[in-house]
Structure formats: structure tokens, C-alpha cells
């Protein structure tokens, strides 16, 4: 080959790649519109969603949904929107909605949902706020629909309860009752090492800050855009957390925890019986069924119950338990190729039979305001009614709806370990963290100010913090 022909081949190759190289197909071979849907789930959760996608693809002949499971979906969505080439539908975590909404990076569903198929009032009370947020002009819009919901409650081992003389049918409701149960459930071996704990706030540690709400407080004052993690209720909650650490022993619990296996494994501390009570979502039942000990017939041996997370006496309300309400949402990014078709697909996924089928496969409660009796009766999680009650509760709480939440939460998560280790008294640590988290909120406000959309209309009140 001569130099000239090598060069010609190189140039032709480049031009050919640019002209005919791979690019996202807008239509498939049958002329159907190709809709790209990105989702974060893997394993059985992804498979359940895939069934709904397939049902949609078979239900009509104009649109075909191309379903892609991907990791790091939040960052990839961010980058594709910034690059102007996002997928048509994305499954995000609900707490990310404010980040995308405030910059108008999503298409408001209330603009596309002309038939009212995904109106927020179709959903359980707790989920409604998760789907809405203000846009860049301050107007509240609906940006998302719930895909699945996740509320939190406490799982408890009924056999352990019976063993120490607690009534498994009357689980503790207040913090005081909960403390008494925990103390009874603690077991140590001859040399004093822990072999079982009743409860540990930092296991699994995914929601370290929620206890503030169980004491009637909060972490973020949305009306004034302020961090309130130093408020007296928060101090009380973290004092409570430290009381467990003191009682069990800081070093003892660190060593004890080191032996806990991964959440989704047979070494999960609740499954091995090392923890008698654990805060979790409805999905833990799946782990119990998949990895927990079983009898000869394959029936799970762990006899578990589910109770709302304990609260101070003034918050006890059996019909309105206090608990975190979160979930996965479906959104349509701005700049996508087929917004109307995306809406059609989303509406299909929100039909009751599909919502319930997906929730069943994920072991979760339904996101809808009304669940069918069949769904509740056939649910593989025996505690589903508790999770559903939290979703329907007027005392449910959500991740703070601020775009600074990721940074805010990282600070709270970091503090939780130091709190458990009793590096400093709770009040002192919270004062520092309040100042730091406030600086994150201030930074977000600065960003809004630069773009002329401040949300702080009045001078924030002073005091209230530590």
C-alpha cells in the first residue's frame, strides 16, 4: 500500500464513520418510534420492569420502548441533559427531582398529561410532594410520577421477642417502650462481647438522620431555607442515639458490626439474628425470603413482624405513623426526542395493575391512594400494611426538597458515625453540622441568585438552632 492510498483510506474511513456510523435510531425496522428508557434497577427489580415494558410494546404498534438498565443513572442523566441528547424516559430517585426541576431540565408532566392519568391525587398522600417542585420561575409543577414507593418501618424478630418475654403482637410504639425492648434483647457472651443487639441506629446507616423526625423535629426548614439540624428535637434524637452507643459500648459495637455481612446476603445482621430489630423498607422481606434460613420445604424460618418506627408519646397515632416516604420516579428530560410518546408510556406504567405488579415484584407497598385487597392479601411482605400506612400517613416525611440535599446528606451521614463513636456531645456536633449544612444551602441560594430566582424572600428568623 502506498502512502497516498493509506491516507485516502484513512480519510474515507473517517468520513464514512461520521456519515454512517452508529447513532440512536429514531425508528425501528417496522417504522415504530423508538423510545429510550433508562432505569437504575438490576436483577429481579429490573426484570419486573422489563415485563411492563414488554407489555407496553405489545399493547400497540406505534412505539417501541428500548429499556436500558444503567448504573450511575443520576450522573448520566445530568450529563446527557447538559449535552442536549437525553433519553426519553428516566427512572430517578425522587430526591433528585428538585435538582432537575429548578433548572427546568425536565418536561412538566402536567403539560403532557392531558387525560389526567398521572394526576398527583391518584397517589398515596405521602408520595404527592415527591412528584412536584417549583420550576425556575417559582411555579409548582408536576415533574414526575411514582414508579415504586419506599417507606420505612422497623422489622422485628418475633422469636427473639418471645424468648425475652416480649409480646410479639404488641410491639413498642414509643421511644421509651422501644428502649426497654432493646435492653431485654441484648445478649453478650461469657467475656462480655456482644452476640446480639436489640437495635442499632447505624445499621444499616442508610437513613442516619430520620430519628430527628421521630422526636418531632426536622432537618430542613423549607419555608426559610434553613438547616435546623441543631434544634432541640434533633439534639434529643442524637442524644438518644448516643445513649445506645454508650450502653452497648463504642468499641464493642464497632467490632460487633464488623462481622455484619452485606445487606443483600445471608450474612445480613437481621437474618443471622445478630440484630433483633432493624429499620428498613419493604424490600427487606425479599432478602429474608431469598437468603434467610429455611426449613426442609423451603419456607423461611425467620418469623418477623413490622412496626412503625418508635416516636415520642405526643406523636403516637396508629392511623398516621411517622416514617420516611421516598421512592423511585419516572421523568421526561427536557430535550428528549419523543415527549408525547414518553408520556403515553409513563401513563401505561401507572395503570393500577402495572403499579401493583411492579410493587409486588419489588416487595414494596403500592404508590397509589387505594390499593386493591388482592394486592394487600397476596403481598409477600407480611408487613405491607404497615408500610402502606406510612405512605398514607399525614405524619410521613420526605427527604428535604432542596437541590443542596446530596451535600447536606453526606454531612449528616458522616456525622452519624462520629455521633455513634461519641467523639463529642451531640449538641456540640450538631451545632457544627448545622453551620456547615447551612453553608451548603447558602451556596445553592447564591446559585439561584446569580440566575435571578432567589427563594429567600424575607429575612430568615434567627435562633432556633443549637
Amino acid at each position: 500500500m502506498t502512502r497516498r492510498s493509506a491516507l485516502a483510506a484513512m480519510v474515507l474511513g473517517g468520513v464514512g464513520f461520521a456519515a454512517f456510523g452508529p447513532r440512536g435510531a429514531k425508528e425501528d425496522a417496522r417504522g415504530r418510534i423508538v423510545l429510550d428508557y433508562w432505569e437504575k434497577w438490576t436483577g429481579h427489580e429490573a426484570a419486573a420492569m422489563k415485563k411492563i415494558v414488554e407489555a407496553f410494546n405489545q399493547s400497540q404498534d406505534r412505539i417501541v420502548v428500548r429499556y436500558l438498565t444503567t448504573s450511575g443513572i443520576d450522573q448520566k442523566t445530568l450529563i446527557t441533559i447538559a449535552a442536549g441528547d437525553p433519553p426519553d424516559v428516566v427512572g430517578l430517585w425522587a430526591y433528585l427531582v428538585p435538582v432537575f426541576a429548578e433548572s427546568d431540565s425536565l418536561i412538566p408532566l402536567d403539560e403532557l398529561d392531558t387525560k389526567g392519568e398521572v394526576r398527583v391525587d391518584r397517589y398515596a398522600t405521602g408520595f404527592r410532594e415527591l412528584m412536584t417542585h417549583r420550576d425556575s420561575k417559582g411555579k409548582t409543577r408536576q415533574w414526575a410520577t411514582m414508579n415504586t414507593g419506599g417507606t420505612l418501618a422497623v422489622y422485628y424478630n418475633k422469636a427473639h421477642f418471645r424468648e425475652v418475654g416480649l409480646d410479639p403482637e404488641k410491639p413498642p410504639r414509643t421511644i421509651e417502650e422501644f428502649d426497654a425492648a432493646h435492653r431485654k434483647l441484648v445478649k453478650r457472651d461469657a467475656d462480655g462481647s456482644l452476640t446480639r443487639a436489640g437495635f442499632m441506629h447505624i445499621e444499616p446507616g442508610w437513613w442516619s438522620w430520620i430519628w430527628v423526625f421521630q422526636f418531632g423535629g426536622g432537618v430542613y426548614d423549607a419555608a426559610n431555607d434553613r438547616s435546623i439540624i441543631g434544634a432541640p428535637e434533633a439534639v434529643a434524637a442524637y442524644d438518644w442515639m448516643q445513649s445506645y452507643s454508650k450502653e452497648l459500648g463504642v468499641d464493642a459495637t464497632k467490632k460487633f458490626r464488623a462481622g455484619f455481612g452485606n445487606y443483600d446476603s445471608p450474612l445480613n445482621a437481621f437474618l443471622t439474628g445478630r440484630l433483633s430489630m432493624v429499620i428498613q423498607g419493604p424490600w427487606l422481606a425479599n432478602v429474608i425470603n431469598a437468603h434467610g434460613p429455611k426449613d426442609a420445604n423451603g419456607k423461611p424460618l425467620i418469623d418477623y413482624g413490622v412496626m412503625p418506627a418508635p416516636v415520642i408519646p405526643s406523636l403516637v397515632d396508629p392511623r398516621n405513623p411517622v416514617g420516611l416516604v421516598e421512592g423511585d420516579v419516572l421523568v421526561i428530560p427536557k430535550g428528549c426526542k419523543h415527549p408525547k410518546e414518553a408520556m403515553e408510556f409513563i401513563a401505561f406504567t401507572q395503570r393500577q395493575e402495572h403499579v401493583e405488579a411492579l410493587s409486588l415484584a419489588h416487595y414494596k407497598s403500592s404508590t397509589l391512594a387505594v390499593s386493591s385487597e388482592k394486592f394487600l392479601n397476596e403481598h409477600p411482605n407480611t408487613g405491607v400494611r404497615v408500610f402502606d400506612a406510612v405512605a398514607q400517613s399525614t405524619q410521613g416525611f420526605r427527604y428535604p426538597r432542596t437541590q443542596a440535599w446530596t451535600q447536606f446528606k453526606d454531612e449528616l451521614d458522616g456525622m452519624a458515625q462520629r455521633m455513634w463513636s461519641i467523639d463529642k456531645p451531640a449538641k456540640e456536633m450538631l451545632a457544627t453540622v448545622q453551620a456547615r449544612t447551612q453553608s451548603y444551602l447558602d451556596r445553592a441560594e447564591e446559585q439561584r441568585n446569580l440566575r435571578g430566582r432567589s427563594i429567600r424572600t424575607a429575612t430568615p428568623p434567627t435562633g432556633g438552632g443549637a
Binding site: 480519510v11 447538559a82 431540565s105 458490626r257 458515625q417 447564591e446
Partner: protein, 301 residues
Amino acid sequence: MSHSRAQLKKDLLGWLWVSPWVIGFLAFLAIPMGMSLYYSFTDYPLLESPVWIGMGNWKRMLSDEVFHAAILRTAWYAILFIPIATAMALVIAALLNEKVKAGGFFQAAVFIPTLVPMAGSAMIWLWMLNGEYGLINQAIHAAFGWAGIEGPNWLQNANWAMPSILMISLWSIGQMVVVYLAALKEVPDELLEAGALDGMGPVRRFFNITLPMISPVILFNIITLMIGSLQVFAIPYVLSAATPGNDPRAMYFFTSSMYDNAFRYNQMGYASAQAWLQLLITLGLTAIMFAASKKLVHYRA
């Protein structure tokens, strides 16, 4: 065809030949670097257009406590890792340079860990360092348990996070060992023999002959180690995410902060400023090392 036309054609042909590299350089290095320099002076949340804020991001770095802690942690890591890794790699290379049986096997054994991807080695060490079931603590218990000495909770105790990361990093110094080994083999035998004839023992020969002879290679390795140390990210990132009950801030380094600001906190402008600071620090330290090397490094004529 005139001479100038022929020259022009020759030049164009030359540019065409190097164009794949030039295009790659412009598209993936020069333009992104220029853009990131611009972004470092803007507020840029990725989802919205950048807004010019002058030195705002640079000033913010002065008051960002989390970032300061991350820089300090990175500095400590570099201060500890560079001398330990250099000394270890030199000792191992010197040992491998001796004529021993199965030398090839030992060379391969030292080199193989460098072939394991960072994330993979972090996952292996995650279990090795497990406080209760980990191999290391089991070994400590077997050896010293009788005296009441037990291994720490390596990854869950903030004080042991740095030693854990250092240990994992030291596991993969094989590439450096190979470079040192090659350098050691290049040391002229006649110099060592002359030293021996002059009555030098093996230790003196090593410090007075071998080390000066391989000093350019040591300088090269120290600079690459320094650059790698300032950019440490994958191992602490994986360990931190996969260890329940650890303090995430105990494994938070310079690059962790940059990554979070860019992709998790929507502050690409600030992350760009951090990236440029990292580059400036790296350039500054490299310049200092080169300046210092004038007296310390021996180049053969």
C-alpha cells in the same frame, strides 16, 4: 511544480499524517482544558449555562473546611506513601536482583497485583481487612491473641482508615519494582567490583555506588508516585462506599471532593477550579523536585 508548492504539499501531507493525534489532542485535552479553565471562573451547575463569577470559586476554596481536610488527608497520604513505597520497592528490587532460585517466580508474584484493577483490589482488601473475619486480624489473633493483642477495625475506625489505604496501595508497587530492577541491572559491575576492591561492604556499595547510579530512575518514580498520590481516588471511593459503618469523611481525598462537586453537587465550576489547583500543585511540586534533583541526582555522561 515550484519549490514552495512542493514544500506546502509536503507540509500538508505531514499535517495529515499527524492529524489523528492533533485532533485527539485538541478534542480530548487542549479544548477540555481550556474550557475547564474558563469554568473555574464561573458558576456552572451543568444543567444551566455558566455564569462568570471571577475569582469566586478560588476564594471559596480558601474557606471550604471539607476541602481543606481532604487536601490535608491527601498530603498525609503522599508524605507517607512516597517514602515507604520507594523504600519498599528498592529493597524488593535489590533482593530480586540477587541470583536466587525461582527469581522469575518472585518477580511475577510482585508484579501480578499491579494487573488487578483498582476496584477489584479494593474489594479483595475489603474482606482482608474485615474487623472480625478478615485474614489480617485472624493472623494477628493467631500470633498475638495470647497476649491480648487483637487487630483493629481497620475500615470502620477513622484512625485506621489511612493505614488501610496505604497498605492496599503498597500492595501494587510491582511496576515500580520492575523499573528499579531494570535500573539495578544497568549498574556497571566494574564500579561495584572497584568498590569491593577498595574495601566497601555491600551496604556501603549500595548507598555509595548503586543508589547514585539509579538516582534518575528514583527521581522518575518519585515524581510519578507524587502525581498518583495527589490523584488517589478509586480505592478510598470503593472502600468508603462498600464499608457499612465507616466514617465516609475518613476516606475523603482531594479527587473525591472534586468528583463530588462536579457530578454529585452540581458545581462543575468549583470542581474545575479544584482541578486546576491540583494541576498547579502538581506542577509546583514537580518543579521543586527537579530543582532539588540537580544536587541529588547523578546523570551518567
